[in-house]
């Protein structure tokens, strides 16, 4: 590869925000037709670097060269005209508009009279969706799509232009395995057309499957570039976090107590039916299944967001009716939701207030909210979860994606629940903090919480659970103990083959 000239070259990029030096002289270059992975902890500056590249931020110092010519891109349209396309980490869609309009947002095709050319628009989007194997059409409303499908809409945007470099910022965080395969096919197609790909992800196995080279950032500075074929996960991790991973605390199991939560014959319309299970104090129960298996909906029912059509929920042996999240919280049930941006955070509020939001009532001194108490709580969870934010005053919306997720988790831990439900707890979280969060989940169980973990990542489920419940199309297929469970029988159980015995 060394004989070729890089198609793109970033030199000495510096980008500061008030109080943060997000990028500190980063060099980065991409060759034609390569898949170049960009890795680093949450807050390392990956997304910021790519936003500089895509014309959304202007660098304070440094320059960008495309085909060896320096260019200045003042906005995303100019970047597109230079052949650079960025697929955003956080979904960036107009929910009430159609798929077609979203795909061409900002540059809808026009007729001679200046009207939107719906015919051309729908044809072009239709063929892109077909290429992506999407089962929805250009006229579908984006708001009615699942998160994974919305992600596909974002990806469709990359195929509208003749691109030189396509940047995927954590595209797989909410994709199913099947959709991931489609995405990797697309990436390989682009690659064989000579398009370069920058691929950001925290999932090592993906990085090693797809990438040719790996560049690592740490705290806003460049740490090195490795050739994927000649390196190991451990080497990358070392470069990223300065140490190897520590899983030592995962194994220990606490004392398992009485049944805290018991669910019997719970059904909710077409979403899931006849679900029964129990969670004991001190135990982590993992729910594994494909996206859409009904796991999130069960969690939402337990948290009072959905009304079950039949069945009972018992806490400590007593039947309870949970009509609202307020009821759930009063009963000691907490939910860390799966999509942080839409459900878990108030983006315009600062870090401290987001963490203390659900329990402001408890922190009052007379009629006033006690400032000191709030800051103390924030500090505690910042240290425990290793949240990287300039200060408690920083707006959550400005944090890196992974650190936002940590704030959501912190918020619910601060409630001291008895039953803690976490839905996809480490989506978008870097390897170091992922291990931390896994440890934390184990520790919480150890100290007597009943914990439910919903995850689509098999290694995560296997690592944290004492028992695993496998779901398929709204039904429990099988229940495993930690000793029984392995990758093979789990895959079988969630794909509906063999119709394993009901629990």
């Amino acid at each position: 590869m060394s004989e070729a000239q890089p198609v793109l070259r970033l030199e000495g990029i510096v980008k500061t925000f008030p109080g943060v030096r997000a990028l500190d002289g980063v060099d980065f270059s991409v060759f034609p037709g390569e898949v170049h992975a960009l890795m680093g902890e949450n807050g390392a500056g990956k997304s910021t670097l790519m936003k500089v590249l895509a014309g959304m931020y202007q660098p304070n110092e440094g320059r960008i060269m495309i085909d060896r010519k320096p260019v200045v891109m003042r906005n995303p349209i100019e970047a597109k005209q230079n052949g650079i396309i960025l697929i955003h980490q956080e979904l960036s869609l107009a929910e009430q508009m159609t798929v077609a309009e979203n795909v061409f947002l900002g540059e809808l095709p026009r007729t001679r009279w200046g009207f939107v050319d719906w015919k051309v628009l729908e044809e072009r989007v239709g063929s892109i969706l077909a290429k992506l194997n999407c089962d929805f059409g250009p006229r579908t409303n984006v708001g009615s799509l699942s998160i994974a499908k919305k992600q596909m809409v974002e990806i469709a945007r990359a195929l509208t232009h003749h691109a030189k470099v396509v940047v995927f910022d954590e595209p797989t965080a909410s994709l199913t395995d099947a959709e991931k395969v489609v995405l990797f096919d697309i990436i390989n197609d682009l690659k064989s057309d000579g398009v370069s790909i920058v691929y950001i992800s925290h999932r090592m196995e993906e990085i090693f499957t797809i990438s040719d080279r790996i560049t690592v950032l740490r705290d806003g500075s460049y740490r090195g570039t490795l050739v994927a074929a000649d390196t190991t996960e451990d080497e990358v991790t070392q470069l990223m976090i300065g140490r190897s991973l520590d899983y030592s605390r995962n194994i220990e199991q606490g004392e398992i107590g009485d049944i805290t939560l018991e669910v019997d014959g719970l059904s909710c319309g077409r979403l899931y039916s006849d679900v029964s299970f129990a969670v004991r104090a001190g135990e982590v129960v993992g729910f594994y299944g494909l996206v859409g298996a009904g796991r999130t909906e069960i969690a939402e029912t337990l948290f009072g967001l959905r009304e079950p059509t039949s069945g009972t929920i018992r806490l400590d042996g007593e039947a309870v009716s949970i009509g609202s999240p307020a009821d759930a919280i009063a009963n000691g049930i907490s939910l860390v939701p799966e999509s942080r941006k839409e459900q878990g955070l108030v983006l315009g509020m600062n870090c401290r207030d987001n963490i203390t939001l659900p329990q402001v009532d408890d922190m009052t001194a007379g009629p006033f909210v006690s400032n000191g108490a709030e800051i103390a709580i924030y500090d505690m969870y910042r240290d425990r979860l290793d949240i990287k934010a300039p200060s408690w005053r920083s707006e959550v919306g400005n944090l890196s994606g992974g650190n936002q997720q940590k704030i959501v988790i912190g918020k619910w831990l601060a409630m001291k629940p008895r039953v803690l439900i976490v839905d996809e707890p480490t989506r978008g979280i870097d390897v170091g903090s992922k291990a931390e969060i896994h440890n934390l989940i184990r520790e919480l169980a150890h100290s007597g919480y009943a914990v439910i973990v919903i995850s689509s990542e098999m290694p995560e489920i296997l690592r944290v659970s004492d028992r695993v419940i496998a779901m398929y199309q709204g039904r429990i297929m099988r229940e495993f103990t930690a000793d029984e469970v392995n990758e093979d029988n789990l895959v079988q159980a969630i794909s509906g083959v063999g119709n394993g015995k009901a629990a």
């Binding site: 107009a94 508009m97 900002g106 200046g114 939107v116």
Partner: protein, 340 residues
């Protein structure tokens, strides 16, 4: 309400009963329009006549014109509270300038610079509102609240708290003139309604208006220049407020500094009745037209039945809440909807 033009256009064109039902589901205000239309036709002898329908159109054209602009800024995720004050400003300016001695020898041509100045005042104030919202990031509600107070004050200073009377009879006759069998003011309203409907549903600017109101960040990311875009829309609503002020003064043959008081509330009511969301991203001109007609028919019909004016307000308040409730019920997401 979530549809944008691709769907609404084709859905209306080629579907039968089911299509009609869905159309009503999307525009529940039109069901109300039909109901109150039938009600007043049966309850009064005078309501159901061509002459009265023309009346209603002329009476509502002022509100209606402003509502067209308001729909755009509200879909955009903004609001403009200064429209009532702009009505008074444009009317006073126009009527006053027409009488300036320098235009004395111009004959009826004196109307031209006067109307141009009136319209320009609205457009400029809109530009100013938009510029402030764009550059400072202050919420449109606050910015235009300030403009509403400030402009109204300016009008009082400018007019010395006096009413102005139009000495040019061509001008004051215009308000009662007819064209091709309809009152001219009704034509103005109908033509602009059509134009703005096309702007919103067919043009790129229209699509961007929905996108910006729906998800401003996504619009920025997609390279839409959101600041200038919003400024243009504020200029459009400013233009309509000024135009409404001018047509109103042609009807009265005069302007008063109190002209257009509370108009912002009526206009917002009509727009919201028509299904435009205060949060932005949703709404359309078909709905707004229905909202404007609903208010016009109610005022007219209750007036014919000699119901005291304050009952009209009570009825409107109830209907506003009822229509929005109905809208919510009809457009539920079903299984997917979470409890609150």
């Amino acid at each position: 309400m979530a549809e944008t033009s691709v769907e609404s256009v084709s859905a209306q064109a080629n579907q039968g009963v089911k299509g009609n039902f869905r159309w009503v589901v999307r525009h529940p205000i039109w069901a109300f329009v039909v109901i109150i239309f039938l009600f007043f036709s049966l309850m009064t002898d005078t309501f159901f006549s061509l002459g009265n329908f023309e009346n209603i159109l002329v009476q509502t054209s002022t509100l209606g014109l402003i509502a067209l602009g308001m729909t755009i800024v509200m879909i955009n995720g903004n609001i403009d509270l200064s429209v009532g004050a702009v009505v008074a400003l444009a009317a006073s300016l126009t009527v006053d300038i027409m009488g300036w001695p320098m235009f004395e020898s111009w004959g009826n041509w004196q109307i031209l610079p006067a109307v141009a100045a009136g319209l320009a005042s609205g457009v400029l104030l809109g530009a100013l509102n938009g510029l402030i919202v764009w550059k400072t990031g202050v919420d449109a509600f606050i910015v235009t609240l300030g403009a509403m107070l400030g402009v109204r004050g300016l009008v009082f200073v400018y007019t010395g708290e006096q009413s102005f009377f139009a000495m040019n009879f061509a001008y004051s006759d215009f308000g009662a003139s007819r064209f091709l069998g309809l009152p001219t003011l009704a034509w103005i309203f109908l033509v602009f309604t059509l134009l703005i409907h096309i702007l919103l549903s067919r043009t790129v600017h229209g699509s961007n208006t929905y996108a910006v109101g729906d998800n401003r960040e996504a619009a920025v990311n997609a390279g839409i220049r959101v600041g200038p875009h919003m400024m243009v829309n504020f200029m459009i609503v400013g233009f309509f407020a000024a135009l409404a002020g001018i047509t109103l003064s042609t009807q009265m043959g005069a302007s008063t500094p109190n002209l257009g008081r509370d108009y912002e509330l009526w206009v917002i009511t009509a727009t919201v009745l028509g299904g435009t969301k205060l949060t932005g991203g949703a709404g359309n001109i078909i709905g707004t037209f229905g909202g404007v007609l609903a208010i016009g028919i109610l005022r007219n019909g209750m007036n014919l039945m000699q119901v005291p004016a304050f009952y009209v307000l009570v009825t409107l308040g109830v209907i506003l809440i009822a229509v929005l409730f109905l809208d919510k019920q009809l457009n539920r997401k079903g299984d997917g909807e979470l409890r609150i």
